[in-house]
């Protein structure tokens, strides 16, 4: 069912023809075609595990293809490493950037191809100057002499883009470039993409964010289960059709919502402070309620959640759980009070990537499951398979290493870990970040089940449509304070954004 309606096909810069790949005899990609024109933004879409990453790995020479060929400007190329691909003009801006943190920006830009003086030494002045020239020319607001460590994710991305430009890349692959940057930074990124387009660079753009795709993509190729589901001009597609093509089924409601009559107050916070990041926060949470916390990046939402959970020691205020005053000094205290925190940073604080699925799922419940301190393999196995089943975790086995799972499944492992701990109060910080459409829906459904079961839920999200879709009530934060509260009947995007932008005394831009 390959549809090849296509958009205006101007000069082709890159063509991947009939790419197939099998691991151990099992097909992961079957006959994929991808054709990118000069100056085109070509979106590559599909659920996690659909084969996008494998296809890009083949393009970059990380995996060899079993069949098929790659043509760059009409000439057949074979890449054996990302380095080789880059030399030929194919650059990748990764989802998670790993720059050498203690290098300066210009050192990073010229890494591996330093400008040398007559004596063969690195010509620092020339490189810094050249880097500055590139930045001015490309309108990139970054200081070439700054250390990579001091730059935000967005600035690192811009540096990578400049690097690609300076290498005169013909094709630039961007894997979820906006997953960790603010709206304002997204605008700067899009300007750079427009610039790349104008220079005739072909951009392959991977993202789960529909709005973005429809804003910048010229054509969209969808993969599902390793198959090419079609390539269309973005103008010929809409949200629903695209989702249907990606998941192969109807998604009737984007945000399935359970309505539960809220019960008694289970959590009461008064005047909570943590340094300058969390200032004088009041909130109350009822049984069966989903409280959304909205705000811009750096508004102090994550810090609030972490202070509640005992990761940061509060510098002021009081917390009552079930009407009783409590002192939460460490995560263990919070867990004992039946609280759970699903953090936003899955790899940094959510998972032990060196452990198995099973070890991760039981990690927060070891004392409860094995009060005598001795592990019981069969009991652990039972408990883990049950919770994997409940959350639809797709893994080869409970003993599979958790880093072999896709992003959505890893997120489900984190959720499974916290649900196993039997919490009454559940705080989820950006629970759907970097997660595909299908897994997102599973997570929304899970939230519904939780509140039906009488749990109290707090969801932090930067995606306003999402938070409006799932919350019963929204608190908006800015610069560490709660600046507004909106009930579900009054939900309105402008109003929430208005509260989110309420800084006092100049406010801060998106940091932290």
């Amino acid at each position: 069912m390959i549809e090849e309606r296509g958009g205006p096909v101007s000069e082709t810069v890159l063509e991947m023809k009939g790419i197939s790949k099998a691991f151990s005899g099992v097909g992961v990609l079957e006959e994929i075609h991808l054709q990118v024109a000069k100056g085109e933004v070509h979106a590559l879409m599909g659920e996690n595990g659909a084969g996008k990453s494998t296809l890009m790995k083949i393009l970059l020479g990380i995996h060899p293809a079993d069949r098929g060929e790659i043509l760059l400007e009409g000439r057949r190329i074979v890449n054996r490493s990302p380095r080789e691909a880059m030399d030929k003009g194919i650059a990748m801006i990764h989802q998670e950037l790993h720059p050498v943190l203690d290098m300066t920006v210009w050192e990073n830009v010229f890494l591996g191809r330093e400008i040398r003086t007559r004596f063969g030494l690195a010509d620092k002045k020339a490189m810094a100057r050249e880097c500055g020239r590139l930045f001015t020319q490309l309108d990139v607001p970054v200081d070439p002499g700054a250390r990579m460590r001091d730059l935000g994710v967005a600035q690192c991305q811009l540096v990578e883009i400049v690097k690609a430009v300076s290498l005169s890349a013909k094709v630039v692959v961007m894997d979820e470039p906006t997953s960790a940057i603010t709206d304002r930074e997204v605008e700067i990124l899009f300007q750079q993409i427009a610039r790349l387009k104008a220079q005739g660079v072909g951009v392959i753009y991977i993202s789960h964010k529909m709005e973005e795709i429809f804003r910048i993509a010229d054509r969209i190729t969808v993969l599902r289960d390793g198959r090419h589901m079609g390539t269309d001009s973005a103008a010929d597609l809409d949200n629903d059709r695209l989702i249907r093509r990606m998941v192969g089924r109807e998604i009737r409601e984007v945000f399935p919502k359970e309505t539960v009559v809220p019960g008694e107050v289970v959590l009461e916070v008064r005047g909570l402070c943590w340094g300058r990041k969390v200032r004088d926060v009041d909130l109350s949470l009822r049984k069966g309620e989903i409280l959304g916390i909205a705000g811009l990046v750096g508004a102090g939402r994550s810090e609030l959640a972490q202070t509640l959970f005992g990761i940061h020691k509060p510098t002021g205020g009081s917390v009552h759980v079930h009407g009783k005053p409590v002192r939460i000094q460490r995560p263990g205290d919070a867990i004992a009070l039946k609280m759970a925190l699903v953090t936003e940073d899955r790899k940094g604080s959510g998972l032990n990537l060196k452990g198995t699925v099973q070890e991760n799922i039981t990690l927060a419940s070891l004392d409860r499951l094995f009060p005598r301190g001795i592990l019981d393999g069969s009991r652990e196995g039972d408990v883990v398979s049950k919770s994997m089943e409940k959350l639809k975790v797709k893994a080869a086995s409970p003993k599979a290493p958790v880093d072999s799972l896709s992003g959505g499944n890893q997120q489900k492992v984190v959720l499974a870990k916290w649900l196993l701990a039997g919490p009454e109060i559940i705080v989820l910080d950006e629970p759907t970040r970097g997660v595909d459409v299908g897994a997102k829906r599973d997570i929304y459904l899970l939230l519904g089940e939780l509140v039906k079961a009488g749990k109290a839920v707090i969801v932090i999200s930067s995606e306003i449509p999402e938070i409006m879709g799932i919350a019963d009530r929204i608190l908006v934060m800015a610069a560490g304070r709660v600046t507004g509260e909106v009930a579900r009947k009054d939900f309105n995007q402008e109003r929430i954004l208005g509260y989110a932008a309420q800084f006092e005394g100049g406010g801060s831009s998106g940091t932290g």
């Binding site: 992961v28 263990g332 896709s406």
Partner: protein, 328 residues
């Protein structure tokens, strides 16, 4: 019915991981078997004799006991450089309290174990509560404790111990198995149990794998740190006691570079230096391999100077193999 590619991907990855895991966990077994085979061919008469094989296990025992403690520390993401010095200090102290007709038999035993554990605990305090890098804390402790061993013994070996003390390592069980080997077996069994079958062991892996996620999951990371260094110190005390008994003396210069042999055994056994992974049986093989190489080269009359070169090369080779296994 066609399988979902996502599942296929997961299965495939699991497979490739299994095979790499196999290499990682058992690759060293092939090396071990290869070395054994080579030595049997080169020296069929001397090497493969049962008495010599028992000798090898004896030679592996002291290092094996130290390596078990080191394994806990390395899996938790740390390192313990002080164990060699602890061997010297506890040996000297034990021998000093084991002169005939002075103290009951148990006094030197309890002192050696207690002192070892105490020094380990101090290492743990420095790492867990002082937030000093483990390399620095235990490097400092290594020097301090070596100094203490020299001070306590006034710089010369302590001789003259009771027959009972000599029997701590020298006696036999069932007339064939030296007690020394029994300690190694018991320590190995206890370590394996602690690491694989207890909540504590699970937490040691979790802390070494990702300290932040461990802390966020309610684990008291500092207490785990304290515990692993205490275990390492305690086992170093046991090694010191056993070595003093075996050599019938407490020598303040004993145990030099033992920490490096222990680290080597752990690393050869496939425990990752960055923490969070590794298996107890790898460490056992690592300790045995080091002993086999030493013993075999002795039998082949290779000078001890060359032995060092060969041992070093094998350590590097083993880690290379380990890293190959980890790359997919």
């Amino acid at each position: 019915m066609r399988r979902n590619s996502r599942e296929v991907g997961a299965v495939e990855q699991a497979k490739s991981l299994q095979s790499s895991r196999f290499m990682r966990e058992f690759g060293i077994l092939f090396v071990f078997a290869g070395v054994l085979g080579a030595l049997m061919l080169l020296s069929p008469g001397a090497f493969a004799r049962p008495a010599n094989l028992m000798n090898i296990i004896k030679q592996a025992s002291v290092n094996g006991i130290l390596a078990m403690g080191m394994m806990f520390v390395i899996i938790s993401g740390g390192i313990d450089l002080s164990v060699g010095s602890i061997v010297a200090l506890t040996g000297v102290v034990a021998a000093s309290f084991a002169h005939p007709g002075e103290y009951p038999f148990l006094v030197p035993v309890v002192l050696a174990l207690g002192l070892g554990a105490l020094i380990g605990l101090l290492n743990g305090v420095g790492v867990a509560y002082g937030n000093i890098p483990p390399f620095i804390v235990t490097l400092g402790m290594m020097t301090i404790v070596r100094g203490l061993a020299l001070i306590v013994s006034k710089g010369s070996p302590v001789f003259g111990v009771t027959a009972a003390f000599e029997n701590i390592a020298g006696a036999f069980v069932l007339e064939v198995v030296p007690l020394l080997v029994v300690y190694f077996l018991v320590v190995t069994g206890a370590s394996a149990f602690l690491l694989n079958k207890t909540v504590f062991g699970r937490r040691v892996y979790a802390v070494g794998g990702n300290e932040v996620s461990a802390r966020f999951s309610g684990i008291d990371v500092q207490r785990i740190r304290l515990a692993v260094y205490t275990i390492s110190g305690l086992l170093a005390g046991l090694a010191g006691l056993v070595l003093a008994s075996r050599t019938v003396s407490g020598n303040p210069t004993a145990g030099q570079s033992y920490e490096l042999d222990a680290i080597a055994a752990v690393i050869i056994g496939g425990v990752s230096m960055s923490g969070g992974s590794g298996k107890w049986y790898g460490t056992v093989i690592g300790a045995l391999l080091i002993a086999v190489i030493g013993n075999g080269l002795d039998i082949l009359n290779v000078s001890s100077h060359y032995q060092l070169v060969i041992k070093g090369a094998i350590i590097i080779f083993a880690v290379l193999l380990d890293m190959k296994g980890k790359r997919k």
